[in-house]
């Protein structure tokens, strides 16, 4: 595997933002997640929950609700506006004001014709969903208190609204209230506190299920407006409810961090009188669960602890596999760190600012596993605050360390970095070409002479950089295919090739010398999570969300023999069963057969010269190999060498001096920075 000097970087204080809302689209199998900082992410549920799209948020834009209408995604927040997102280009399409004060909830009907929002002023506003925009249609009867939660009857003719201390059922046709159902306040001292109906679900058989701040899940009959049954789930609040597609299962998320499942089962076998019965309990969160969603085979929940938990329902799964394992998503599936390899600079991307650090230096040599004496401490060179309200979408530092670029949804800024001894100064390049107004992904060429900026329509703009400034060179456009936004760019070491990957899983290769599209890699069913062009052979190495790997020879326009062997023999079970995607592909110039990969939990070196492991061989064999003699080692070793020394890895980068930079963000550190959870009595404490 080789020995590396490792910079263990733990000064990137990345804080993921808490999850506020979830919306599941059954048809496209996409899960939209809204976070506290206003960002919206789209996960592909059947592609191992890969984070396909990220739409960064803005300052002061708290999203309260998310809703899919067809394939369109809408959100509403406390700023009183309804926002539609342009998912193709991963940006906000438009925002219109609902004029009802802060919006607490938004929900679309199943027919896809209308959106209903619940406002602070007590109105339920109906919006008609048109081809290109939404249009205010009318208000339902105005109520005295704010509307916290809404749910459409699947037929679209009725709406149930959860409010303070009560639930109202509206007829959509007339706009009048049909029933008013009062929710009980808690006993004792909490009697004076209002009961907030945090969540409401309207079933097709006319049952209304509510979750409230008293900790009850209540079932109501909409014919008579009476309570059928109530389940006391918790002492705290029931914050979120979600029902499965076929309405036989319901999950409730509580502020204790517990997800409780209810199932609609017949009490007497083989008879039809069914009842909602509390069944399983899932404890995967430490903090409030703000959103739950029951998808076909799993329960997805998210909350204040900022992790997205996918808990599979084993009774719904046909075959147990890696795709159906419990999954916890902590970090974005994008790189937040870029590294100036030649000058030892690290650029950390936070939502609202950038930080530039110089790596420390150590002296002497140590034995493997020992820590070296630090000669020079790492140093924070600069903090760059974003102008405007938008959050940063992407950023990059040039390999030479002379340029910094970042882009928000509206602007792109390029800075020239002067770094002589201890004096750091940056100058903003003022006159940027007009095409470089905003970018989905940014990348510098390896000699730092060019900037590649991925923008709309899957195109890549090239700008040449010089002392004087920035000059637009040309635009690379794919020959055909989709116009989804590009999320990955990879430039070759020799400056000849550029590869781009978009969310439709297409990988296009461009010849930079001719500025023409060179070829397109055959489209694979799973998204590309990381790719890199080999400096010596100019082969494109791609990692996919389902953990498959491909090597594509750019010059020959075909998969390499090694790649074909991998596909023929198949990957080891343990490799395929990992649950986080690979986020970076690197090559070791000293040893051209080595490919270095990493995901959140491990660092792996693939030695392409060694045989591939089959399912019978021991996959994690480092320790065994250590105990063997040199000759036995040869027969035992295989291509995958996995290092699990590091945990919670955000980024790994190989420096020219054969040292590795490992950026870790321990989850315990994140947990300590979270607000305190609800205090619970634990037995025997």
């Amino acid at each position: 595997m080789g020995e590396f000097k490792v910079h263990r970087v733990r000064f990137f204080d990345y804080m993921p933002s808490g999850i506020r809302a979830l919306a599941f689209n059954q048809d496209t199998e996409r899960m939209a997640v809204a976070r506290m900082d206003g960002s919206v992410e789209v996960f592909h549920c059947s592609d191992r929950f890969f984070q396909e799209k990220i739409i960064p948020g803005r300052e002061q834009c708290g999203i309260e609700g998310l809703s899919w209408v067809g394939e369109r995604l809408f959100s509403a927040g406390l700023n009183g506006g309804i926002t539609e997102y342009d998912l193709t280009n991963q940006k906000v399409k438009y925002t219109i004001d609902a004029y009802g004060g802060p919006i607490w909830t938004i929900t679309g009907n199943q027919q896809g014709t209308h959106l209903a929002v619940g406002c602070e002023d007590g109105t339920v506003k109906l919006f008609e969903v048109n081809e290109d925009q939404i249009q205010f249609e009318r208000n339902l009867d105005r109520q005295k208190s704010r509307i916290i939660s809404l749910s459409w009857h699947p037929s679209g003719s009725k709406i149930a609204a959860g409010m303070m201390d009560m639930i109202q059922v509206f007829n959509v046709e007339t706009g009048h209230s049909i029933h008013r159902m009062l929710a009980d306040r808690g006993a004792g001292t909490s009697r004076s506190k209002e009961c907030v109906v945090w969540s409401v679900v309207y079933l097709s058989d006319g049952t209304i299920i509510t979750g409230d701040s008293v900790g009850m899940v209540k079932l109501w009959d909409d014919q008579t407006g009476t309570l059928i049954k109530s389940h006391n789930v918790t002492k705290c609040d029931v914050l979120a409810l979600s029902v499965s597609q076929n309405e036989d299962s319901l999950v409730a998320g509580t502020s204790e961090g517990i997800v409780v499942q209810f199932q609609f089962v017949s009490m007497v076998l083989e008879k039809d009188d069914k009842e909602w019965v509390r069944t399983r309990t899932f404890r995967n969160h430490t903090h409030d669960i703000r959103a739950v969603a029951e998808i076909t085979t799993a329960v997805v929940s998210g909350g204040m602890d900022a992790q997205l938990v996918v808990r599979p329902l084993l009774d719904k799964i046909e075959v147990r596999s890696a795709a159906s394992a419990l999954r916890k998503i902590h970090f974005p599936h994008r790189r937040l760190v870029s590294c100036a390899r030649k000058s030892g600079l690290m650029l950390f991307q936070y939502p609202g600012h950038l930080e530039l650090w110089r790596l420390g230096e150590s002296e002497g040599k140590g034995t493997p596993g020992s820590s070296l004496f630090v000669k020079r401490n790492p140093e924070k060179l600069l903090q760059l605050k974003v102008k405007g309200e938008d959050h940063i979408r992407c950023s990059a530092v040039s390999p030479c360390g002379g340029w910094i670029v970042y882009s928000t949804a509206s602007t792109l800024r390029l800075y020239r970095l002067h770094c002589d001894n201890n004096n750091i100064s940056i100058t903003k390049i003022s006159k940027l070409p007009k095409v470089l107004s905003s970018a989905n992904q940014l990348c510098f060429s390896s000699d730092s002479s060019h900037l590649f900026s991925a923008s709309a329509q899957s195109s890549v703009h090239i700008a040449s950089l010089s002392q004087s400034g920035c000059k637009f060179v040309g635009t690379l456009k794919p020959k055909s295919g989709s116009h989804q936004a590009i999320h990955l760019l990879a430039a070759s070491e020799d400056g000849k090739w550029l590869a781009s990957a978009n969310s439709d899983h297409e990988v296009h290769i461009y010849n930079l010398q001719t500025q023409k599209a060179h070829c397109t890699v055959p489209v694979y069913s799973s998204a590309v999570t990381a790719m890199g062009i080999h400096p010596a052979t100019n082969c494109l190495f791609m990692m996919h969300a389902d953990q498959q790997m491909f090597e594509y020879s750019i010059e020959q326009k075909q998969y390499t023999d090694w790649s074909r062997t991998v596909q023929r023999k198949g990957l080891h079970r343990f490799w395929v069963e990992r649950d986080t995607p690979c986020l970076n592909v690197m090559f070791n110039p000293q040893n051209p057969s080595h490919v270095i990969l990493h995901d959140m939990y491990m660092l792996c070196i693939i030695d392409q010269s060694l045989p591939l492991p089959d399912d019978k061989t021991q996959f994690y064999n480092q320790l065994t190999l250590k105990s063997l003699t040199e000759e036995q080692r040869k027969s035992q070793s295989h291509a995958f060498k996995v290092c699990k020394t590091f945990k919670d890895i955000l980024c790994v980068e190989l420096m020219p001096d054969q040292s590795l930079v490992v950026v870790e963000r321990p989850l315990e550190d994140i947990a300590t920075q979270l607000p305190a959870p609800i205090k619970q009595k634990k037995f025997a404490t």
């Binding site: 006391n232 199932q263 089962v265 007497v268 019965v277 069944t279």
Partner: protein
């Protein structure tokens, strides 16, 4: 060779009542539980033992109400039979012979005439393998039927009967049992099943788990889409689960001895009934849901109202894991005394088979948790009059820091209980090994021997200070004492120091002599009584039983036998010796003066016997047979290592018991009518009369005659047949007694098998209508009638006069 056929070892009194779940009868009046070879019937209101269903010849392992007739009960036993009883009258209705040991019984309303039984499949005891079989009961009028029509339902089931339950018609069996074991392997979680219960109306199964969780399973007929919910309150394994008959609540219990009531459907609403005593082993509910019964590990059944109030406690003999104190007899109440509830001494009446009371010795709260080192009563001794009680409590058996107290209790005449008089905190510097009171009437003295190689004599102080203090400290060559004993007249004290016995005079505290018979450390020590009081008996660890003559200070005789317990009878010269060799225990009863044993019983039981006691009889037997003579004045009870309390019973005794129990049966079947009360008053009067006229022998009253009279008196007038019929019958009952007179004396030795065979028929007849009384009588009846002949009938005149 002594004939042993008419003396047999029986389980008599003090058996476990917590082996099987108790049953509450449909009218909530009776609680039934299996206890040894019997099924005992208790009243729920008075907690009184009413009568028992006698007939099985081995441990009863399961009882269940007959679903077709709620006044009948099935019981199954290790002896391989299922018996159907009328439990109100205590009549055996039918016996079904299955032929192999049975371990549990289940019935289902949906399967009429079918019993489900646990049988053991394996021939060797090592890999116990149990099978659930269904048995079709053949329809036959005969008393004893062989039921051979078995079909296996499921095999490889758990030994624990609480792991099987019946659902709503569908039979539920751990379909999950297997995969639970798999789950255990995988995560190391202790989620093995411990018990199971089925909801009476819904298809819901509740299971208890080793880690204290309760899971409610639904949709379980589907292979994958089953679902369950988990509830967790118990911190240790759930021992038992029970749904109430309406299915509104689920009751659970475990080692915490807290009864938890879960509301079905609203899972986190629960009620608790804490501090019930020992850990809960079984819960059962009455069919109307008004009463619950829990049985506890301390041999107790608690009757609980549905409002969660304890309304009755049926306490059996508490035996725990080990009896640390000796078995003793309280000289006043003649009750058996041993340590029962943790930190308590229990007083148990063997005659009435009833727990009398607990005496709190330690006076500290006992914490029911495994692994705690808490005070236990380890020694106790009564003085000869029963006015003083000495106890030793101890803590720190395993650890080095031993802590113990010697306490002296005085009997308070006013409160009729023992009151703490003196607590001695550091009586010795090491553990007290032996303790005895002097047996003289005038002065009471306590001698304690401890491992600090000293023995101490304790006396009560002068009149003004009536607490106890140390009177004398003795030692012998720094040897550790092993035992101490007073002679019958308290003139001598024998203390054994390892291999040497020292004889002291308690008056002058002068060592009179030493006796020694090496090799082997002296284990037991006792003086002879009455005519044999010149002898001193001792046993050694080297399998020697020695007898010294104290007048000559010489060894009278010795024999090589490994005696595990030497027990003198305080009312006769006899001494009982239990000897353990080659995996069974033999009993020898002998007089110290005679080398030939009076009675020998080979293979009394298969375990070692360490505790035994002679219990004085209320009235002596007057058996002349040489082999049974030693049982005339007292009865020998002994405790095996399995904590079975066994005793010896003679044939004559059994006859008597049988007849008395029959009378009990009749008493209880009588409804409490105003007329009954009137009669009851009279009967009490006549009983008083009886006891006055016959102070010695309280012979049972002529059962046949009294039945007739009672039938006559208790049947409502409008149902009674013509007076002429009654009259002839009434007179008839006396006539038969005359025929019985002719029988010779040898009928006395009727074998017991015959007795049992006709027993049930007899009872049937006794209960049957009047005209069923036929003049033809069995031998047993004739014998009873013979006894009737001897008794006084003068009371009868008064009785007939009082008839309205």
């Amino acid at each position: 060779m002594v004939e042993t056929s008419d003396i047999r070892v029986v389980r008599c009194g003090g058996s476990k009542v917590n082996l099987t779940p108790p049953i509450i009868s449909n009218d909530s009046r009776f609680v039934l539980c299996a206890s040894g070879d019997l099924v005992k019937v208790y009243s729920t209101r008075t907690e009184e033992w009413l009568h028992s269903l006698q007939g099985h010849t081995n441990q009863v392992t399961g009882i269940t109400l007959n679903p077709a007739n709620h006044l009948q009960v099935y019981s199954c036993s290790v002896d391989g039979t299922v018996k159907l009883w009328d439990f109100i009258d205590g009549i055996l209705i039918k016996t079904f012979v299955i032929g192999c040991p049975l371990f549990a019984i289940y019935v289902s309303e949906k399967h009429e005439g079918v019993l489900f039984l646990h049988v053991s499949m394996a021939t060797d005891s090592k890999n116990e393998c149990f099978q659930l079989v269904s048995v079709h009961l053949p329809k036959s009028a005969e008393q004893e039927v062989e039921a051979k029509e078995m079909s296996a339902v499921s095999s490889h089931i758990s030994k624990n009967p609480s792991c099987t339950a019946f659902g709503r018609g569908v039979r539920v069996h751990f379909f999950f049992f297997y995969f639970s074991l798999k789950a255990t392997d995988k995560k190391g979680a202790k989620n093995a099943f411990t018990c199971i219960a089925c909801h009476p109306t819904d298809d819901c199964i509740a299971t208890g788990h080793e880690d204290g969780k309760i899971r409610l399973w639904r949709n379980f007929i589907h292979k994958k889409e089953y679902t369950y919910s988990t509830q967790h309150w118990h911190h240790n394994a759930v021992n038992t689960l029970c749904f109430t008959p309406e299915g509104t609540h689920l009751l659970s219990g475990g080692i915490e001895s807290v009864l938890v009531q879960w509301q079905y459907g609203a899972d986190n609403r629960k009620e608790f009934l804490p501090r019930l005593g020992g850990s809960i082993l079984h819960i059962s509910a009455s069919s109307d849901g008004q009463l619950f019964c829990t049985s506890h590990s301390d041999n107790k059944i608690t009757v609980i109202e549905s409002s969660f109030k304890v309304c009755g406690v049926i306490q059996g003999l508490v035996k725990g894991d080990a009896v640390l104190t000796d078995l003793m007899i309280d000289p006043r109440s003649k009750a058996l005394v041993l340590n029962g509830k943790p930190g308590h001494l229990q007083f148990y009446s063997l005659l009435r088979d009833k727990h009398l009371y607990n005496l709190d010795i330690v006076q500290q709260e006992y914490i029911y948790e495994a692994g705690l080192d808490q005070f236990e009563v380890v020694k106790a001794a009564f003085d000869i009059k029963g006015s003083w009680l000495a106890t030793v409590e101890e803590r720190g058996k395993k650890s080095s820091d031993l802590e113990f107290f010697l306490k002296l209790w005085a009997f308070d005449e006013r409160t009729q209980s023992f009151v703490l008089n003196t607590t001695i905190t550091a009586a010795h510097t090491d553990r007290i090994i032996s303790m005895c009171f002097s047996s003289s009437e005038e002065t009471t003295m306590l001698v304690t021997a401890a491992e600090d190689s000293q023995f101490k004599a304790w006396c009560q102080g002068a009149d003004d200070q009536n607490f106890w203090s140390c009177d004398f400290v003795g030692s012998y060559h720094k040897l550790n004492p092993t035992n101490c004993s007073f002679s019958a007249d308290s003139s001598l004290l024998a203390v054994s120091f390892q291999e040497v016995i020292t004889i002291w005079s308690p008056d002058t505290w002068e060592m009179l002599t030493t006796l020694c018979q090496p090799p082997g450390v002296i284990r037991d020590l006792c003086f002879g009584r009455l005519s044999c009081s010149k002898y001193l008996l001792g046993t050694t660890t080297k399998n020697l039983l020695c007898c010294w003559n104290l007048l000559t200070c010489e060894l009278e005789w010795s024999t090589s036998v490994d005696v595990s317990k030497l027990q003198p009878d305080p009312f006769s010269e006899n001494v009982a010796a239990f000897s353990y060799q080659s995996k069974h225990t033999d009993l020898f009863v002998f007089k110290p003066s005679e080398p030939r044993p009076l009675f020998t019983n080979k293979n009394v039981c298969s375990e070692k016997v360490h505790r035994a006691v002679f219990v004085p009889r209320e009235e002596p037997l007057n058996s002349c047979d040489e082999s049974t003579q030693w049982l005339n004045r007292s009865q020998l009870y002994f405790l095996t290592q399995n904590m079975d309390l066994l005793t010896f019973s003679t044939a004559t005794e059994e006859d008597r018991m049988l007849s008395s129990s029959k009378q009990l049966v009749i008493d209880d079947s009588v409804a409490v009518t105003p007329f009954y009360l009137l009669l009851g008053k009279h009967r009490q009067q006549q009983q008083k009369l009886n006891t006055q006229s016959h102070p010695v022998a309280d012979k049972p009253q002529q059962p046949q005659g009294s039945v007739t009279i009672k039938e006559l008196l208790h049947t409502p007038a409008h149902v009674l047949p013509a007076a002429s019929v009654l009259c002839s019958m009434f007179v008839n009952s006396f006539l038969i007694s005359n025929t019985g007179e002719m029988d010779s004396e040898k009928e006395e030795e009727d074998s017991e098998e015959e007795m049992e065979a006709c027993d049930s028929q007899q009872e049937l007849r006794a209960q049957g209508s009047v005209d069923e009384v036929t003049p033809k009588l069995s031998k047993a009846q004739e014998r009873e009638l013979k006894r009737v002949r001897k008794t006084d009938f003068s009371w009868m005149a008064g009785l007939i006069d009082s008839k309205p």
